[in-house]
Symmetry: C2
Subunit: 416 residues, 2 copies
Amino acid sequence: MTVMGAGESAKYSCARLNDICEVVLDLDEKYNIERKKFGVVTPTDINYFKSVLSEDRVLTDESEVMPFNIDWIKNCRGQSQVVLKPKTVEEVSQILTHCNAKKLAVCPQGGNTGLVGGSVPVFDEIVLSLALMNKIISLDEISGSLVCEAGCILENLEQHAKEHNLIMPLDLGAKGTCHIGGVNNFEDILKLYRSAKLSLGEILSAFEMADAAAIDACVSSLKLTNPISSYPFYVLIETHGSNETHDSEKLGGFLEQEMASGLILDGTVSSDPNKIHAMWTLRESISTAVLLDGYVFKYDVSLPLKDYYKLVPKLKQRLGPTARRVCGYGHIGDGNIHINVSIPAYDKRTLEMLEPFIYEEVAKLDGSISAEHGIGFRKPHYIHYSKDATSLQLMKDIKQLMDPNGILNPYKVLPD
Amino acid sequence: MTVMGAGESAKYSCARLNDICEVVLDLDEKYNIERKKFGVVTPTDINYFKSVLSEDRVLTDESEVMPFNIDWIKNCRGQSQVVLKPKTVEEVSQILTHCNAKKLAVCPQGGNTGLVGGSVPVFDEIVLSLALMNKIISLDEISGSLVCEAGCILENLEQHAKEHNLIMPLDLGAKGTCHIGGVNNFEDILKLYRSAKLSLGEILSAFEMADAAAIDACVSSLKLTNPISSYPFYVLIETHGSNETHDSEKLGGFLEQEMASGLILDGTVSSDPNKIHAMWTLRESISTAVLLDGYVFKYDVSLPLKDYYKLVPKLKQRLGPTARRVCGYGHIGDGNIHINVSIPAYDKRTLEMLEPFIYEEVAKLDGSISAEHGIGFRKPHYIHYSKDATSLQLMKDIKQLMDPNGILNPYKVLPD
């Protein structure tokens, strides 16, 4: 691993990789970003960190550090040589005071599950892992408020809440009822969504859509079962109320009405946790299934609902036979659509056909270029499609105010 | 009305008044705040504003300006001599560019319904009224998102939403069912709240409490009817779901269970909009009813639910016969309690018994000194009970960044 000095104008190479076993820095695909003039970690710094944390919470062994350098979709690789694992706010404070004094750049890292390269270092930034800051500080059983440290993972919070007869709002509840239906066109999905909000109101907990190409990836590549016949569009509707009888009655009435109206052409409904799990597995496997096509360009944008699906056919037309698959799926309620474009192998020409085209189209429709995945390292040069120059300057000024040496997660979110 | 010059070290007098007809500046109760060295509005400025806005949207007549100088609870009076009523963002931008260049202080004002003196000028700040920026920009009927200008009032938004078969989430829906019950002590209220969350879950839209002293103010001073017998504590529970039959069934089951358990001692329930309105009138009249006692010190704090009611008996004990009434009422779900202390007439000694005592107690219980009413002009010198020095400095730095000349709403929120 190359060590880059503070004065070097080294170039960063960020490989697009689908397999951690094939970590190769592909120079053709590199991002031309220069390392900023930060300090370089010295043995003196390491000794200081060991004095603040215990020795076993300062990782410097290459194989131990490696997983913190690569994000989970193996899309970006950093070159950090130190991982620090503080357990308390005081330890974080001591580390950051030192790093500010020595102008050492820092990359804070949680679960490293980001999709835009925001959670891995770019050059040799120190990784500040929050994994051990995982204490649940309090749970007020009356109000239902839970306070926890930044490194807590959802699964543990769910377990803790369950022990107190509560659920995490992100949890898929045992009382839920789930429905998968086929419909004919996207207009019908919007009509169905309005109708679901009226009929199911406060118990409607999810309204997800996927197009035929997305479901097909699960069926053909992952051999999952589609519980209904083939349709151009699918919806997954979940309800989650406090009274199972009432909920089934509401959902039943809604389905009956909309199968009669023709908005739903076919469907299956279940409140059996295993079957619900199977339905969600189908929806949640799309992302993985499409990866098996070869190389995948993944976009996560939000759009006004009336224009929610517009970009998918537009991209299909633009790419023609170049694309193996262009599919769309996402959370209708949020206006958030995931657009995946797969090709047999990474190809720069396809990238150039996609970007900035897709961001220009999103901006024209008053959408946002990043819905739930953030800007990270991948999208700073596209942020101007969603934010004007004044907002960007203000964001930079506030960042500068709170991080005057710019040592925290450099090269991310805001363009230089 | 005195005009204060930029260099004068004039003192600001903020009278505590209960009647707009008796606007008297009581110098004994003044706040010792010096006017900052802002510019003074000249005829040239007025002419400029008239060129930007039309003439009728620049108010300078003393009687026209007066209502913008006094807040709705007649607690604070400013000394502005100009009110500007822009209609567009461009007009606001032109006004603020001019005011920044001339260092003229500005007090932006919405509905002027604040309770902490945040919305009225302190000295001669220009009032920038947003009343005419009341356009509804868009309503997406599918997602239910409404975008509107800053001066829109809730009533108009409700009307607009209703025309599209939607409601504002703050609205009291026609489908709601409402219950008022008596319970014996505060512990029982917390038990009842937990039980209501379990049984009513997603349809529970309000859980309000009031103590006997609060309800008594409505009954004795406003001659309102208490629909049930006298109890130390009252709760108002409202449900609001999409299926009236289901909702009544859930609420009925809950009431039956909790009357049997003894948590609810007596109660009345209704889904008749007129009766629901009467129940809410009782709850919402408390604030006005207490005002009829004489002078009222009003506190709006949030506390952890287990300590939610602790301060009321503590203040009762501390004040003894000095207080005519010490009562508590509020939104249990938010942890937000309104504590009102009434005395026959304003008296500084009582104020000194209350403050900073009440804020110290709130801080000890890890509460917040301002729950839903903000900090405004009234509470900057108490904000340190809820925010540490680092947070306050950061807030000041961000304010300075966005308003480098400090012309926007000076003397408010952040202490000097």
